[in-house]
Amino acid sequence: MEIRRSKTAIGFLTILGMSGAAIGGLGAGGELRPGDPTPETWRGHDRASPVLAWVFRGEDCLSCLTPAYDLRRFQAKYGDKLTLWTVSVEDRKNMAFPFLRQERIEAVHRSLDMDSYHHAFARTELPALYLSFRDTIRGLWRPRSNGGGGVAGPNPTVRDMVAELMARAGYRD
């Protein structure tokens, strides 16, 4: 697996306003994928407990197919024990904040333009939900319908993986 220094980590460093070395790691093809090492700038944040990052475009806020249902559940269950980031890309109409408020999602949120996004996430298709833990990308999901054209329902895989990783991080119900 190719480990390369890139502007990716710098981009995310800028996005999230974090400190740390800008040494990133992306998978083959330039996309973050499950099993890839977590970019350096994530590492200080996902070492103790998982990080869940929802990356989306402004227009995705208009869709019924978002992971909002799961994110609310995780927040209610784990509180600040689970780090949640939201990153909006090309949010030209500033839809992200009203959307997050309406969906009752409280997260560290940043916006970035497409160039910065490509630096941070290469060409990873949007929207995407990343799960990172102990320096490794553990999961990458797309939103999905609950099958009826309504709001997106829960994703059991996300729920189970978050529960498993939270348990490994020492969280107990």
Binding site: E59, C61, L62, S63, C64, A68, Y69, R72, A76, K77, K93, N94, M95, P98, F99, R101, Q102, E103, R104, N146, G147, G148, G149, G150, V151, G153, P154
Partner: protein, 351 residues
């Protein structure tokens, strides 16, 4: 007292992607309009209710209905859940969750207590009805009226529900139906879609029906019509009693000028220019009608208050979501609060 939510508007917009054709713009406007007002000018706030939440219950898109003991029944479209609350906001019971199994929901938009104590819920997407025990702790029955979608419902008796929905595949489908819970049949259908032909396709994808009753009269609104329809409930099917123009300022409904099926942003641009009627509350001496305006992912709730004879009383922009009314008291989520578990209640000031 029934109110569709911003979530419903958003998802109705999503449905628009599946069914709209290009057609020319049509704007309907009332001949009279109401003076605009601010919230503090029109409402004496009497108190607040903090609706209980926990790690399983989060109010995101609550639609409120009255329980017989003064409490509240909540259908939450985004949480696929129904809840029973005491009048002080204490959580009594929770039912549902996302799914297609018995007792699960896709997008519940209505929950009522039947006169015999049972609870009945209705799902927007597949029009599925679920009958629960009085405490919502067991599922007694599920039924599938031949409608798509289901906009609203009202109990007429323990055996009969008034359903607001479309019969699939029919542009001219009646909107209101008397559903027999015992025979599981539609006994009567009435109220043809009240829009001109050029809005028929739009009405298919952007139609909500507001319903309320007072005494033995049923009041209904349709999202694309600035008219209030009244029916006598003493006969089957309910007998038309008349219509009242809603004195709404700047009522805007029209078909999209281009095909919006392939573009979320184009669809949103179209939706943001509409002000569809979303709910009606029949108060003792007046009507309170809510109409919406999409702003990005949010929906602004505008209020129009008018007398029984149609005389305008006030129009309030962005007043917040009115959850229910009881006599002269209204329960609402103040748009400035933006927290759907913190409700206010008060009375409308005389004007």
């Amino acid at each position: 007292m029934r109110a569709l939510t911003r979530a419903t508007l958003a998802c109705a917009g999503a449905f628009a992607a599946c069914g709209d054709d290009d057609s020319r713009m049509t704007t309907l406007a009332a001949e009279t309009s109401s003076p605009t007002a601010s919230l503090t000018e029109v409402v004496d706030v009497l108190g607040e209710i903090h609706v209980e939440e926990n790690d399983r219950v989060i109010n995101v898109a609550p639609i409120s209905f009255d329980d017989t003991d003064g409490g509240f029944l909540i259908a939450d479209l985004k949480e696929s859940q129904v809840r029973l609350y005491r009048r002080d906001g204490h959580l009594r019971a929770v039912a549902g969750g996302p799914g297609d199994g018995p007792g699960e929901f896709r997008s519940p938009v209505v929950v009522h207590r039947l006169p015999d104590g049972r609870l009945v819920t209705g799902d927007f997407v597949d029009a599925r009805l679920t009958v629960f025990s009085a405490a919502a702790d067991s599922v007694l029955d599920t039924q599938n009226p031949p409608l798509f979608p289901l906009y609203n419902a009202l109990p007429l008796s323990s055996e009969r529900l008034l359903l607001a929905g479309r019969q699939p595949g029919a542009l001219s489908s009646p909107l209101l139906h008397v559903w027999n819970l015992s025979s599981e049949e539609i006994e009567a259908s009435f109220l043809s879609v009240p829009v001109p032909p050029e809005l028929a396709a739009t009405a298919l994808s952007l139609g909500f029906v507001g319903l309320d009753t007072r005494a033995d009269t049923l009041y209904a609104t349709f999202s694309l019509s600035d008219t209030l329809y009244a029916f006598g409930l003493g006969e089957s099917p309910p007998r038309p009693l008349g219509k009242v123009p809603i004195p709404i300022r700047g009522f805007r409904v029209f078909a999209p000028e281009q095909d919006v099926r392939g573009s979320v942003e184009a669809r949103q641009r179209w939706l943001s220019r509409l002000t569809p009627i979303q709910a009606v509350h029949a108060m003792p001496h007046s009507f309170l009608v809510l109409f919406g305006e999409a702003q990005g992912p949010e929906n602004l709730w505008h209020w129009i208050h008018f007398a029984r004879n149609g005389a305008p009383l006030f129009e309030l922009r962005d007043g917040g979501q009115v959850l229910t009314t009881r006599g002269d008291t209204i329960f609402f989520i103040d748009s400035r609060e933006m927290v759907p578990n913190r409700w206010k209640f008060g009375v409308l000031r005389p004007r």
